[in-house]
């Protein structure tokens, strides 16, 4: 997976659109997709009204849900990054017995409907190991439980794209780094990681986006207790069940704004030439 700007800056710059078949078709399809998404957003905006949106920010419950969504999705994102980068690297670089099996198992949570993850967690916590974890202080109505649901739904995407990102790194570059005196860890940090950065960030964005949108497993495993386990997707559902469609859509618009800000922030954060923080 190539980023539009390589860390070494040795690729030709991305061109502007030209009038030939490929550019017309690709730009046209892009435009259709953007128009379709915008049409949905405009329909949402049209159904709700400004006062409803403003009213949300006066509701203690909705503010709590916004806060909880921000906190849990960020915690999930951190946890996902901590897992997915090393796990993706391991899947990409090492061959071990059961590698294909491991590769397949990583994809399972993507294939399953999310609600199955919720039911599975619910059932797991009735088994002996589950009870033991509960005995250690884990509670089903807690931030930890929300993060757990989000993690299971989101982690696969990040591991999958981390693996793809590391697969795309030319291993000769790592070997050159090793011959120039780098340790394996240094080669990872100074060569592989910067090159894979684009793919890793794409994976993290996808994981975060999944985490924010998680709903099915939360309804089953964590519940929707106001001020305690209610996140924004839960709010949308709850408002729909009592027919307050305009409020549900207003919440959706708030989620849209949050996502927009967060994605813009991540893009900005990753726009430097180096892998930030490392």
């Amino acid at each position: 997976m190539r980023h539009d700007r390589s860390p070494d800056g040795d690729l030709p710059p991305v061109a502007g659109p030209h009038l030939h078949v490929l550019s017309v078709v690709s730009m046209g399809l892009l435009a259709i997709f953007l128009a379709a998404v915008l049409a949905l957003v405009v329909a949402d905006v049209g159904y709700t009204d400004w006062e409803t949106v403003v009213g949300l920010f006066r509701s203690r419950e909705v503010m709590a849900a916004i806060r909880l969504t921000a906190v849990t999705s960020t915690l999930t994102l951190m946890l996902v990054v901590v897992f997915s980068v090393p796990a993706g690297y391991a899947l990409s670089r090492y061959r071990f017995p059961g590698h294909t099996l491991a590769d397949t198992v990583v994809d399972l949570p993507i294939v399953l409907p999310p609600v199955v993850i919720g039911v599975s967690l619910l059932v797991f916590f009735t088994t002996a190991p589950g009870r033991w974890i509960e005995g250690m202080g884990f509670r089903p109505h807690s931030v930890a439980a929300i993060v757990l649901c989000q993690f299971f739904v989101a982690a696969s995407y990040a591991i999958r794209s981390a693996k793809a990102a590391f697969d795309s790194v030319d291993r000769n570059l790592e070997h050159v780094a090793l011959t120039l005196g780098c340790t394996r860890a240094q080669a990872f940090r100074m060569v592989s990681l910067p090159i894979a950065r684009g793919g890793l960030i794409a994976g993290a964005i996808m994981a975060w986006a999944r985490a924010v949108g998680v709903f099915g497993p939360l309804m089953v495993f964590v519940g929707s207790i106001r001020m305690k386990t209610e996140v924004l997707p839960t709010t949308v559902y709850l408002e729909l069940t009592i027919g307050r469609i305009e409020v549900a859509l207003a919440v959706a618009l708030v989620m849209l704004a949050m996502a927009f800000i967060a994605l813009a922030f991540i893009h900005w954060l990753s726009s430097g030439r180096r892998w930030w923080g490392l």
């Binding site: 909880l68 469609i245 430097g272 180096r274």
Partner: protein, 520 residues
Amino acid sequence: MVASDHLPARCGLLAVLVAGLIGLWACGKDEPAPELRLLCYVGGTMRPAVEELLRIYEEKTGQKVELDYGDSGTNLIKVEMRRWGDLYVAHDPFLAPLMNKGLGTQGWTVAAISPVIVVPKGNPKGITGAADLARPGLRLGLTDPEYSTLGHICPVIFDKVGLRAEIEANVDTNMRMGGQVANAVAVGNLDAAIVWNAVAHLRADKLDTVDIAPPFLPDPDVDVVTSATFGEVDMSYIKVFIATLESSRHPRAARACAEFIASPEGKAVFARYGFSPVRESDRGRAAAAGGPLRLYCGAGLRPAVSEIVQAFAAETGVVVECDYAGSGMLMSRVKLQREGDLFLPGDVWYLDQIDKEGLVESRTMVTYFVPVMLVQKGNPKGIGTLEDLTRPGVRLGLGNPDACQIGRITEQILTKNAVDMEAIGKNLTFHSVTVNELGLQVQTGRVDAAIVWDAIAAYYADSCDTVPIPLAQNEISRVAIGVLRFSEHKEMAGRFVDFAAGENGKAIFARHHYRVEPPA
């Protein structure tokens, strides 16, 4: 490779963001959690009414109740899997599975719901009744017959209108939940839908309601749906109920809260949210008897009795409210409160006790309890006789003699066989107030052995082993149901006794491994 110039700035910003989020989290926790909070599972449509009721309740009593919303089926799964929470609000048919699975302890009917037609505001298609739904070209929405109670009821209505084929030809969408179809009408994707009146009421700003004429509604004497999971449901009267849960850590507080919601004040709030009132009499059939019957029932009898109560309700329309607890505890309740209609304790001895005060009108034998030893699967401690219970290191669970019959009879058995009571006392790790908890203790491995009823042992047959006690050493409990002298519904109570002790009741007892004949 040179480090980027904005790296420190970006790291700093990231740190600020993370700190900010942690700060946000922390300020969400500013309220100190009070000692006791109840958790109530609420089905979607009931949410606004229950939310308001609990706000009133908190103002009055200071008792906080948290609500967990979802559709009633999902809530039922959560109750079953988590074994956590105090109260459950749903509408029929979910009371039956809740009680049959032993998850609920008591249920109160608080309101009812009935089907109505909803149309977009202003009624653009001019629909005046159920017959208009057959008009060609109308886009009609219904709830899924597989998954919803209302879905079962609609065909009955259409048959009564006499236009079932015509109306069903207009069905544009079948959705899982009534709220979804109503939303589709509200946004203009459908011309009409049939939903519960309470669902329509929540959308009164977007929808108009058209009544279905009473002759077209299901008939209480004829239209009963039976489903494998839920038992029989009277389609003419779909009830909204609140139940206290077996998993409750605060049963007294949960009960008080349920009683408030079931009080006239609570019912008034439901009425304000568009629910139908609770029928005070079931169209005359129970009118002579008045309100529901109250049965005090020994906890060990619950698996069978909860089913008998459902079957009785299905046959007669009379609701029997059950209060399950240890027989000793129930006896004090009966003596103190002097209300209720029926008493079914774990042994006739309890009926004898209250009859000393003249409180028993009549009694009828129902079943027999034989004590057995319940041990862990495979009997790892090798327990074969009563004496084995005194061996050092055997963790023992016994009933409390003051609270429940199994405790009383265990004491008699041990004394009769001159078992070393001091050694028993040393091994006693769990003293329970009902026999049901003893089974659970063995199943979860917290005790090695317990003395329980044969029927309770059969209930745990998959996860525990049973060691019989020889008849000569054993004591048998004879279980009878008594009609209480202060009952205001003696005739109806008598009918319940006949039902429970009759063929129907015997079959249900036998299915749950209770003996209907004394052991040979």
